[in-house]
């Protein structure tokens, strides 16, 4: 399953349409966000059988989506189940993000 770019315009709809969602919040000025992109894509491909929707949200240009997860640093990750925020982590390590995603199961 590829990583889907989301914005304030479609974020809520994507949360409602998918039971399990993991979001990576990033910004163009953030070096660690850029370096994490290929890892996030790999994780999405590796977990495509688990029915988890992977979203990329530009925190700078999507304030509503950003505030929904109370983004404090970047890159920032959030998991949603049935449209509800379950947990978050600000991290650049793949292990921390994998641990967060495991909360969905």
């Amino acid at each position: 399953m590829p990583v889907t770019k989301a914005t304030d315009a479609d974020f809520q709809n994507l949360l409602e349409a998918n039971d399990k969602v993991v979001v990576k919040y990033y910004a163009d000025w953030c070096g660690n966000c850029r370096l994490f992109s290929p890892k996030f894509k790999r994780m999405a491909e590796a977990m495509q059988e688990q029915g988890i929707k992977f979203l990329d949200v530009n925190a700078e240009t999507s304030p509503e989506a950003r505030k929904l997860a109370s983004v404090t640093n970047l890159p920032f990750f959030a998991v949603f189940r049935n449209g509800e925020l379950l947990d978050t982590v600000a991290a650049s390590k793949e292990e921390a993000v994998a641990a967060l995603i495991s909360r969905l199961n």
């Binding site: 910004a27 000025w29 953030c30 070096g31 660690n32 640093n73 650049s92």
Partner: protein
Amino acid sequence: MKMPVIKRLVETQTLEALVAAEEALLEEQAPAFEVEGEDEGEKLTHVFAAIFIRNHMQDHGSEFKDALREYTKKVRVSIS
């Protein structure tokens, strides 16, 4: 992110050199000049910032401090 590091990059490197450094870091190679930072991500952030500020100074004829203010505004709005 360390503002003195960004300032030094703006003062000592051309836009072309900064773009080349960005490409090198993204390809996990060493840039042609030293970029300070705790890890590759922070180094890349410093280079992104220097590129933004140099472009802003060039496009708007602004001084460093004004371009830096625009940059910090971008950062603040992303995490507030």
